[in-house]
């Protein structure tokens, strides 16, 4: 079974309790100034962003087939079987390909550290392992953020849309985007009005590079035979010349 987070934008009141809970869980400072920052960063791993009179939470989407996991040259990022995408700072060499490649622009970097790390939400991997809720879901006073099994949360989201069709935009963000994510969004308006990317393909992005990378053994083996063969043929002339001319 796979864990997930369901965030219902229509229930969110912008109290920012999730931000505070997240900061506490990571041991990051949290004050009015940081609360006013409407974007995720290396010191703020989730943020409630205002769009007019509506709100949207930004956090790692924990893709089913994460782009960051596929691009990381040292395997510092891993998709765990319960769902969360976790990061091993000891492996990371700081190439920042994960920042570059993430379709949701989630990973952030400690730009001003001398020994920097990448930072992002890990869906409270350890807490969930201990049977606890994610910090953000635990402190949410309205139930806008819920933590549970993805299948159940997905069913619940569909039920909410079915029960109050007038109140919801009839789609769930995260069901199909880049092959599906473990974080699901519900909203009253189309998702692009909340600043979410809606031009994402439905296929998982890692397929785009794997399609080319998987040709590597073919290129190496066929290339060796071809180049070796060309060398053998073109040098034949010299060999003949050497034989005919005796030792040179």
């Amino acid at each position: 079974m796979s864990r997930a987070i369901l965030y219902d934008s229509t229930l969110c009141i912008d109290c920012k309790a999730c931000e505070g809970g997240c900061a506490e869980r990571w041991g990051l400072p949290y004050n009015d100034k940081i609360a006013a920052e409407e974007r995720i960063s290396a010191h703020k791993l989730t943020a409630v962003v205002t769009h007019g009179d509506r709100y949207i939470r930004r956090l790692c989407m924990h893709c089913a087939e994460p782009t960051c996991v596929s691009v990381c040259p040292v395997g510092a990022l891993q998709k765990t079987s319960p769902g969360p995408v976790v990061y091993d700072a000891e492996k990371c060499m700081g190439c920042r390909y994960c920042l570059q490649a993430c379709p949701f622009q989630v990973p952030t970097y400690e730009w001003n550290q001398r020994l920097p790390k990448m930072r992002k939400c890990d869906m409270c991997y350890e807490r969930q392992g201990q049977g606890k809720q994610t910090a953000c879901a635990e402190v949410c006073p309205t139930g806008a953020t819920k933590n549970g099994e993805r299948d159940q949360l997905l069913a619940e989201a569909r039920q909410r849309i079915a029960e109050k069709p007038g109140q919801y935009y009839p789609k769930i963000y995260g069901v199909r985007e880049v092959g599906g994510t473990s974080v699901l969004f519900l909203s009253a308006v189309p998702f692009d009005q909340l600043g979410l990317r809606t031009n994402l393909p439905q296929e998982a992005l890692p397929d785009l590079t794997w399609r080319v990378l998987e040709l590597t053994p073919d290129v190496v083996s066929s290339g060796s035979v071809l180049l070796g063969g060309i060398w053998w043929i073109t040098n034949r002339r010299d060999e003949v010349a050497r034989k005919e001319g005796g030792r040179k």
């Binding site: 040292v74 379709p103 001003n112 073109t234």
Partner: protein
């Protein structure tokens, strides 16, 4: 070793200024981290150091594998005189790319991590391995020059024994990572501007790298002939220029077809920075391509040089367009490098020129052994016809 102080010339003064600013930028990089010396951000994590130092650096060094393939695998011996400078350029180029990476990586002390912590699904992992292996190959392809200089015949023999597999490995590794630098961007279809995003990025990166490698060979032959007062191998370069013209035509045609298949021509009608920089890139590549089809242009050292320079700048514009211009709108960020980023880049380029010059002066780079064929140096400029008329071995 000469103890005489070097003469102060304009170029040396400029180089000194660049070097000093680069050293200061290096201090700032170590002291304040990436945030202190770059304009990079979470939205725009790759800037000039990746776009120019790495993407352009690796591409501009492609002459090494191209000429090795021409001379040693296809056995077209007449190109031998320009092989060593190309290998030296490549070896220096790759070494400097590694230096640039030490600036750009957040944790340069862990640059070796991909060698033991594998992720074969990552394009960056493949590039890391290929660049490491190929820099080693280039070192081994270059080192005979040093052995020759000091008359060490035994190690020369060892290298000679493994030279064929070594050269084949070099060409294959180059093929893999030159194309993979394009594959790096396959994973950002939602961010890279449609004029540059394409499923054939690996192919177009590969072909343009081969082309610019040839252009760089012409470029450095022209410069070294001036710097060292030696004759220009004009007939050779002219026939290389023919190959360049055909490669560039192929490249431009593939790009055109690709835009057609992606139905991206409509995008060209938008009056945006992307459109104009795309036009600049294409113009810088199309103009020399057309010119190089004229025999007069190929046989004039200066016109040939101008065409090579245009191809080089067209190539650089293309890589910067992919890495910077094309990524801005999709990332929702605007990026202009900080002075420190520029200073480091210029220092690396300057160091490349300076080291090349020193090595070329003290080692047998421009007097490659020619067992068969025409004499070592023709007096002054050779007024011969194009190399096609010169009999091959």
């Amino acid at each position: 070793m000469k103890l005489k102080l070097p003469k102060i010339t304009v170029w040396r003064a400029i180089f000194a200024v660049i070097l000093l600013s680069g050293l200061y930028a290096t201090y700032l990089r170590i002291r304040y981290g990436l945030g202190g010396v770059t304009n990079l951000s979470d939205q725009f994590p790759w800037g000039l150091w990746i776009g120019f130092d790495v993407l352009c650096g690796v591409g501009l060094a492609a002459g090494g594998f191209t000429l090795v393939a021409i001379v040693h695998i296809f056995n077209i011996e007449r190109y031998k005189p320009i092989l060593r400078p190309a290998i030296l350029t490549a070896f220096l180029g790759y070494s400097l790319v590694v230096v640039a990476l030490l600036y750009d990586l957040g944790r340069p002390d862990r640059i070796w991590h991909p060698l033991i912590m594998w992720n074969p699904h990552s394009v960056m992992f493949e590039v890391a391995w290929c660049v490491t292996l190929y820099t080693t190959v280039l070192f081994l392809e270059f080192i005979p020059v040093v052995f020759e200089r000091f008359g060490w015949h035994k190690p020369l023999g060892w290298i000679h024994n493994i030279s064929v597999p070594l050269m084949i490995a070099g060409v294959l590794l180059s093929t893999l990572h030159q194309s993979s630098l394009g594959s790096l961007y396959l994973i950002v279809p939602e961010k890279l501007y449609p004029l540059w995003y394409s499923p054939i990025l690996p192919l177009s990166f590969y072909i343009s790298a081969i082309a610019v490698g040839l252009a760089m060979t012409i470029f450095e032959s022209w410069h070294s002939s001036r710097a060292f007062g030696r004759a220009l191998e004009l007939p050779l370069l002219a026939s290389l220029a023919r190959v360049l013209a055909v490669l560039m035509s192929t490249y431009l045609w593939i790009r055109f077809l690709d835009l057609a298949h992606q139905q991206a021509f409509g995008v060209l009608l938008r009056n945006r920075t992307e459109t104009w920089l795309f036009a600049l890139e294409i113009a810088l590549m199309a103009v020399p391509t057309v010119l190089l089809y004229q025999r007069k242009v190929r046989m004039s050292p200066d016109a040939l040089y101008a065409c090579a320079v245009m191809v080089v700048f067209g190539f650089i514009t293309n890589r910067l367009n992919v890495a910077v211009t094309g990524m801005e709108a999709g990332s929702g960020a605007h990026y202009i490098p900080k002075w420190t980023e520029v200073a480091v880049t210029l220092t690396i380029v300057g160091a490349g020129f300076a080291i090349f010059r020193v090595i070329a002066e003290y080692f047998p780079i421009f007097e490659a052994v020619r067992p068969l064929g025409p004499p070592e140096h023709a007096p002054k400029k050779m007024e011969e016809t194009e190399a096609d008329s010169i009999a091959v071995g």
